[in-house]
């Protein structure tokens, strides 16, 4: 950083990632794991119920998200109006989550309503009734959102990327069409629910002050009589029909911008390069001062933002760069991204730049572990992908020890131009 005549700036202390220790795990009597994340202000608790019931477990497309959405649309004991009324009376927030590899429910509740909220959560998670009328309304609403998504360049480009990466018939890669909504029935959802929404296929996190107070209630509702024995989820291998690299164009009529996505098949969390690749991607497009932000936004002014991410599902990893640009600049944008990557493949990054990335990443990790609710979110990725309780310790170690030579090697291995998907969604 620049020295100045006035003797400023103030001295910067090297940021540390802080305490990234994994929270304790308590087992209910049926073996169900409950992670307890303490501290935080009085009066509020966050309880998340996570099932191995994500998109990857679907035999019928849309079953995962639709089953999840229908949980609060009526139960064996209460119709939709009554169950929602009971939930809302507690003042708690119930949010549905349905992702590629997990699905469930997040509840945030006043501690004094904990008893009611856990009992309502049990009711909606294990005893939904999937009424036909609410099912039809849910489909209509989702169909509207789906049709709106057809006109969004960012949505279309994302779909094309996962389709290319995973294949048309793979649950991660399948692209939704209107007929998928028409053919979906409540019996598909009942089957999906019966197989996967069981105590044997889930874990729970409790975050907030004195989280152990939830344990007797959870034991009672999630491990008592008639509740299945927990066993570690078996992640069976999946078929991927990965497409050949190259340019993919997706027409979105009347759009005033185009979404540009450049992506590669990446690696999974168990690969020795996974953490190093996180650092490389951060440097390329993971923060405001990254190579791509500086070039494409701050120098060229082509876009409001450009980002790069490396991640992984079960069995497959991905690397992706994404941005929305004026239609007239999309070719130039692709060209500039290629140039930036080529530079990183040829030249070592400077120690100064690496130091910025290092310090920034330490701050990011510290923020991820700042407060019990944040920790609950941070550990979800670790538990879902069995990434190891020392995941963040290893990450910190990698960030501190990675060399410019290794970063160059990573760009040469994983960002090869002949292996890239270049996706453009916009007008012809």
């Amino acid at each position: 950083m620049k020295e100045t005549i006035t003797g400023r700036p103030p001295k910067i202390n090297i940021p540390s990632a802080g305490d990234t220790s994994f929270p304790p795990c308590i087992r209910l009597s049926n073996g169900l794991p409950v992670y307890l994340i303490g501290n935080g202000p009085e009066g509020l608790l966050r309880i998340e119920f996570v099932f191995n019931a994500g998109q990857r477990m679907e035999k019928i497309h849309l079953a995962s998200a639709a089953t999840n959405a229908m949980l609060t649309e009526g139960t064996e004991l209460h119709d939709a109006a009554s169950i929602n009324n009971l939930i809302d009376a507690t003042g708690a927030l119930f949010s549905h989550t349905a992702d590629k590899d997990s699905a469930g429910l997040v509840t945030v509740t006043l501690t004094r309503k904990l008893d009611e909220v856990i009992s309502l959560a049990e009711e909606v998670l294990f005893h939904p009734s999937f009424p036909e009328r609410e099912f039809r309304m849910m489909k209509e609403k989702r169909m509207q959102a789906f049709l709106t998504g057809r006109q969004r360049t960012a949505v279309r480009a994302r779909e094309e990327f996962y389709r290319a990466l995973c294949g048309d018939t793979n649950p991660y890669g399948r692209v939704t069409c209107a007929e998928d909504y028409d053919s979906l029935t409540t019996s598909h959802l009942r089957d999906f629910h019966a197989a996967l929404y069981i105590p044997g296929n889930m874990y729970i996190t409790v975050a907030g002050r004195n989280p152990e107070q939830a344990l007797p209630l959870l034991e009672n509702r999630f491990a008592g009589e008639g509740k299945s024995q927990w066993s570690k989820p078996v992640i069976s291998p999946m078929e991927f029909a990965t497409a050949s690299p190259g340019l993919i164009f997706c027409e979105v009529k009347d759009s005033v911008q185009s979404t540009v996505r450049m992506g590669w098949k990446g690696i999974t969390r168990d690969h020795p390069d996974y953490l190093g690749l996180q650092v490389a991607t951060m440097l390329l497009g993971g923060y405001f001062g990254s190579r791509l932000m500086r070039k494409i936004r701050e120098e060229k002014g082509y876009t409001y933002g450009i980002h790069a991410v490396a991640g992984a599902f079960h069995g497959i990893g991905y690397i992706v760069i994404m941005t929305d640009v004026a239609t007239g600049w999309r070719e130039e944008t692709l060209g500039e991204i290629r140039k930036e990557i080529a530079r990183l493949q040829e030249e070592d990054v400077s120690n100064d730049e690496l130091l910025v990335v290092r310090n920034h990443t330490m701050g990011e990790i510290a923020r991820m572990f700042d407060g019990p609710f944040s920790v609950a979110e941070a550990i979800k990725g670790i538990v879902d992908y069995d990434a190891g309780h020392d995941y963040y310790e290893k990450f910190v170690e990698t960030v501190n020890n990675i060399t410019p030579g290794k970063i160059k090697e990573l760009f040469n291995t994983y960002f090869r131009s002949d292996q890239a998907y270049e996706i453009i969604a916009g007008i012809t």
Binding site: D88, E134, Q151, Y287, A326, V356, R367
Partner: protein, 413 residues
């Protein structure tokens, strides 16, 4: 209860310090009392464009983000019609870096032709990305000039039109900077594990030598009372129709604001609220139906926004909303509904107090509204709202003549 201390520097900078011992991070939140409402109607969007320029470096710090990243921090900003807010969150032992940076860019900005040209281009892409390249994205661009005739809320913070952003230049940017980026026009709010004494010492050290500028008085034209219903219909390439209705109401500090905030929560704040329960689930007129306050400091709007179920007539849908609002006098809010809203308010309030950065911003906002202590009085104000008060306010607010309506219809229909 959020404990804090306040101190005003000689030059008028208001400083607020809140100690939160539960976090390793600290947030320095810098709120400038300038927003799109302070713009010239002929060159709107300048406040927001200026926010971008604040990240473009100074003589002393050529790249604003670098020291923030080096210190393990993150930072961002946003501009709305009322104010511009900047924040830096970093490890507490690097607080001084944040204050140095904020002090430096308050007066030392490098407003070169080149930087302005690039950021104009970035902002134009932001305009396209957020408002033009999204289905339904231009709704609020349409609503403001319909609902407001005089008050500067008639344009959005991004600007009235891309051409306004295109014509911004160094002269207008420099003038804007001198006029609005002064100590007396800002509130600095710091939350984290640091004592107020230390915050005030550092604030004095970094901001103390900034020249004093007179505190500005804002003189904005008041929006005249609306006495006739306004309606526009637009056709767009969207899959289903959307109905927007907007009524004028009072400003952020008024009792009406609190009453309507509670009332809109009862109408649409959760799945069992009146609109989702009756207009979506029971009568199947909409697939989504929401009502909320626009939230501005000067007199703002209550907005209804509903996605129509395919095949529903938009005029019938509008009637159904009006009917539901009229029903508030015959069927006032029940004790159960009020209880629900109070519990929900309490949950949301605790959630908003979870992060130090949120508290830092909210303290600064309340100071801008007149008194940071307002953050601790709010709970009482919300919990004291009664059913009869809601019915009375609703009857005064939801008048047909006070309403602006947008029928946003698919092209094919």
């Amino acid at each position: 209860m959020i404990r804090f201390e306040r101190h005003t520097l000689e030059n008028g900078l208001r400083v607020i310090a809140h100690r939160d011992e539960g976090t390793p991070m600290v947030t320095a939140n810098m709120l400038y009392d300038v927003g799109a409402r302070d713009e010239d109607p002929e060159s709107t969007g300048l406040a927001h464009l200026f926010e971008h320029l604040m990240f473009e470096g100074t003589r002393e710090v050529p790249m604003f983000d670098m020291p923030v990243m080096m210190a393990g921090g993150e930072n961002n900003a946003f501009t709305n019609n009322d104010f511009t807010n900047y924040y830096i969150t970093l490890p507490v032992n690097n607080l001084e870096t944040a204050l140095w940076l904020e002090a430096d860019r308050m007066t030392g900005l490098d407003l070169s032709e080149e930087r302005i040209t690039t950021q104009k281009s970035v902002v134009i892409e932001e305009f396209r990305q957020r408002y033009l390249n999204q289905p339904y994205g231009d709704l609020l661009l349409l609503l403001r000039p319909l609902a407001y005739r005089v008050h500067p809320y008639r344009w959005p913070a991004i600007g009235m039109d891309i051409s306004h952003i295109e014509k911004a230049d160094t002269i207008s940017a420099r003038k804007f900077y001198r006029k609005f980026y002064t100590p007396s026009n800002a509130v600095l709010s710091v939350a984290g594990n640091v004592t107020p004494g230390e915050v005030f010492r550092l604030a004095e050290k970094w901001f103390g030598d900034k020249p004093k500028a007179p505190r500005r008085r804002r003189r904005l034209p008041a929006e005249p009372v609306q006495n006739e219903r306004r309606e526009i219909t637009v056709r767009r390439r969207v899959p289903s129709a959307q109905l927007i209705m907007a009524w004028h109401t009072d400003g952020r500090n008024s009792r009406d604001f609190i009453v309507l905030d509670m009332l809109t929560d009862i109408l649409a704040g959760c799945e069992s609220a009146r609109f989702p329960a009756l207009l979506v689930r029971e009568r199947e007129i909409f697939t989504e139906a929401d009502i909320y306050l626009s939230g501005e400091i000067d007199p703002g709007l209550v907005l209804f926004s509903g996605k129509l179920r395919n095949g529903t007539d938009i005029r019938k849908a509008e009637k159904a909303v009006e009917q539901e609002l009229r029903r508030l006098s015959a069927y006032p809010v029940t004790d159960a509904e009020l209880d629900k809203a109070r519990n929900r308010y309490e949950s949301l309030r605790l959630i908003s107090h979870l992060s130090a950065s949120n508290k830092a911003f909210n303290l600064a906002l309340h100071e801008l509204l007149g008194d940071a202590e307002g953050i601790n009085r709010e709970k009482e104000r919300y919990l004291s709202v009664t059913a009869s008060e809601m019915a009375e306010t609703a009857a005064r607010t939801f008048l047909p003549g006070n309403c602006s309506v947008i029928h946003y219809i698919p092209e094919a229909q």
